[in-house]
């Protein structure tokens, strides 16, 4: 049985594999169905002198497969409509059909630049459901590896930011830093990117000699490398003048749109989950929370860029303290192989490099969660693009989008 749908023919009702025919190949900015909402009919009605411009989903400078339909008038963007779902992999549904240990590997590829943070919040939620106490050494290892990955993520952000503005060199320096960090983490986790390292009640393995020697080697020159990468771009007048005064985000809009993480702190709100709702061993560690854009106008793209560079310095401070304060002891709590939490619900949130990662899990007493909701900061931040881009130039679209630093794996889940 073949069913006709707006996107093409579907072979049968129970077979989700879409037969590709010519319809799906033709790529018009306007959707092939009548407008379903008021917003859609408003957006897809052209005014005088306006036209649509399709950008993506395969585009060299998007952070993944995002498609944006721009409504332009000359060089100015009148309105834009991000079209999501090109990387929707159904992670939440898969998690509800996996047991609790298996879920860690399913949520890993959500934000593939900082995958440990995607593991962290589900693991914390399940620990709340099971009422497990995590050994202190395991908590220190989590913080240590997490902050390392935050440095890698912000390093990549810096490279991508420059790449989206047309500068090719900084990405080469970013990847040197990122490759060193992920190779270091690979010596304890066995993987370079999707680590699958955190476990419910601890971490998969203790730190080993190779990791510590690589880390010590890297720490001895990390601060200097960071200064070098700052000098690459921050003194570049073209870069600074290009980034200044685009995509201004003020305090009110940021709070209204539920922005978190560096984007919120660059709008003048000193809110960091590591201080506001302390978790793990963060209360014992000393670090500052950098804030920019405290004026009435809020922060622009340059503020968001500079704030992430300052966060890297704080992460290096945390790593240093973790190495000095790490206690001895086990890295896993004693837990049965098959986990059956009592019926209940739990919410856990952590501060990732992009903002608040949260997990809301409902247990019904079986070995699989009844419902698992993943809150991802990239999805929230992508909504801002519409607010920030109206009236700007087409060429600034990618600069503003890059300064918000969304990762499409997390947006589409």
């Amino acid at each position: 049985m073949v069913t006709e749908t707006p996107i093409g023919k579907i072979r049968s009702d129970d077979d989700p594999r879409v037969l590709l025919d010519e319809q799906i190949g033709s790529f018009e900015p306007v959707p092939p169905y009548p407008p379903r909402t008021e917003r859609e009919s408003e957006f897809y009605t052209l005014g005088d002198g306006e036209m649509f411009l399709n950008m993506g989903p395969q585009h060299p400078s998007t952070h993944g497969v995002l498609r944006v339909v721009l409504k332009i008038s000359g060089e100015n963007v009148v309105d834009l409509d991000p079209v999501l779902g090109y990387l929707h992999r159904g992670v939440e549904k898969l998690c509800e059909n996996s047991d609790y240990h298996h879920i860690i590997s399913q949520v890993d590829p959500l934000e593939y630049v900082s995958s440990l943070f995607c593991e962290w919040s589900p693991v914390m939620a399940f620990e709340k459901l099971l009422d497990v106490e995590v050994p202190r050494r395991a908590e220190y290892i989590r913080v240590l590896t997490g902050e390392l990955l935050r440095v890698a993520s912000h390093a990549l952000f810096q490279g991508w930011m420059a790449l989206d503005l047309g500068g090719l060199t900084p990405i080469l320096y970013s990847f040197i830093e990122r490759d060193e960090i992920v190779e270091m983490l690979a010596s304890i986790t066995g993987q370079r990117m999707l680590f699958n390292y955190f476990r419910i009640g601890g971490v998969n393995g203790d730190v080993n000699h190779e990791f510590m020697s690589r880390l010590g080697d890297w720490m001895s020159r990390a601060a200097k490398q960071h200064e070098t990468s700052i000098g690459l771009l921050n003194e570049n007048e073209i870069f600074v003048r290009r980034m200044r005064d685009i995509g201004r985000l003020d305090r009110d809009l940021a709070l209204r749109m539920a922005v978190t993480g560096p984007n919120l702190r660059a709008a003048g709100v000193p809110y960091d989950l590591r201080r506001a709702h302390p978790y793990s061993v963060y209360p014992e560690l000393e670090f500052d929370i950098p804030v920019r854009g405290t004026g009435p106008e809020g922060g622009d793209a340059l503020d968001r860029y500079l704030l992430r560079l300052e966060e890297v310095k704080q992460s290096l401070r945390i790593i240093d303290q973790c190495l000095h304060n790490m206690p001895d002891g086990p890295v896993m709590a004693k837990l049965p192989r098959l986990l059956r939490p009592r019926p209940g619900r739990a919410w856990a949130a952590i501060e990732g490099p992009r903002g608040l990662y949260g997990t809301y899990a409902i247990s019904d007493g079986t070995d699989q969660p009844f419902r698992m909701k993943i809150h991802d900061p990239s999805f929230v931040h992508l909504q801002l693009v519409v607010q920030l881009m109206r009236g700007n130039l087409i060429a600034d679209t990618m600069a503003v989008m890059a300064s918000l630093d969304p990762i499409m794996g997390g947006v589409d889940k």
């Binding site: 996107i7 093409g8 989700p16 594999r17 879409v18 037969l19 590709l20 025919d21 799906i24 190949g25 790529f27 989903p57 395969q58 060299p60 993944g64 497969v65 779902g85 090109y86 990387l87 929707h88 992999r89 159904g90 992670v91 549904k93 898969l94 059909n97 590997s105 399913q106 590829p109 593939y112 630049v113 990549l156 990405i171 080469l172 990847f175 040197i176 990122r178 490759d179 370079r192 990117m193 999707l194 499409m408 794996g409």
Partner: protein, 252 residues
């Protein structure tokens, strides 16, 4: 054994009853069965004496089809092929330009800049300073499909992205090749059970090299691209005959 012999996969231990519907198990599509080009009629070569220099290795002037299918066979069966001047200073000009053009193609594979998900980061890592793909002529990631030779599908292919990706593939000019990078593109990987992913891109695009791993290391991708270079040389002239896996109807 030709490329369309239905019994070709039997050598790998699969009987006729074990035949599966996977595209990669079909004759001529199995990555383990690299089928060399059938010798075709070659006109008499034009001999131009090379007066400047002559290779000491007589095998450098053997001509004809390449007698090996795999990289390892170069060392075991045909040590003469290691002679670097084999395709170098020729004093015999082949009348078929395929040999020379394929040599040029395999040494400058230009990929299309298209990343889908996680593997794209490792693909970028393979292109940057530490693992420098440029050393093997694979670097310039072209942003336009019109200028690209190789489509590296890096990351999970969802049903919504399949249409645009196939369109990209169709826009690339022949000859073109496809590398499936990562478990998701080889077979579905960790998202095989999902309702919205395509279980292996060989359902929509003919794949030449599969690079498994979740994600594969950058070295793995570079090795896959080097195998693709070998394929370009071995299966020359057979590219238009490739078919998509049997799960997709012929009119796609």
């Amino acid at each position: 054994m030709t490329h369309d012999d239905p019994g070709a996969a039997r050598d790998l231990g699969t009987g006729p009853d074990d035949a599966t519907q996977m595209g990669s198990d079909q004759p001529g599509q199995h990555p383990g069965v690299l089928v060399a080009a059938e010798p075709r009629d070659v006109q008499a070569p034009i001999v131009v004496p090379n007066l400047l220099w002559t290779s000491p290795n007589a095998g450098a002037y053997a001509g004809g089809a390449v007698p090996y299918n795999h990289l390892k066979d170069i060392r075991t069966h045909d040590p003469e092929a290691l002679e670097p001047t084999r395709w170098g200073a020729l004093d015999v000009v082949p009348t078929k330009a395929d040999y020379i053009t394929d040599l040029i193609r395999m040494n400058s594979l230009w990929p299309l800049l298209s990343g889908l998900a996680c593997c794209a980061i490792e693909m970028m890592s393979a292109a940057t300073s530490k693992n420098d793909m440029d050393r093997w002529g694979m670097f310039p990631f072209r942003a336009s499909p019109r200028q690209a030779d190789v489509l590296i599908v890096a990351g999970t292919l969802t049903t919504k992205m399949a249409g645009p990706l196939v369109r990209l593939w169709e826009q690339m000019p022949d000859p073109k090749w496809c590398v499936a990078m990562g478990d998701c593109t080889c077979s579905g990987g960790r998202y095989k059970r999902s309702y919205s992913t395509i279980e292996g891109i060989d359902r929509v695009i003919p794949v030449d090299v599969y690079v498994p791993g979740c994600p594969p290391r950058p070295e793995g991708l570079i090795y896959g691209m080097m195998k693709l270079g070998q394929l370009v040389k071995d299966r020359r002239g057979h590219w238009p005959e490739r078919a998509v896996g049997p799960n997709v109807p012929a009119d796609v």
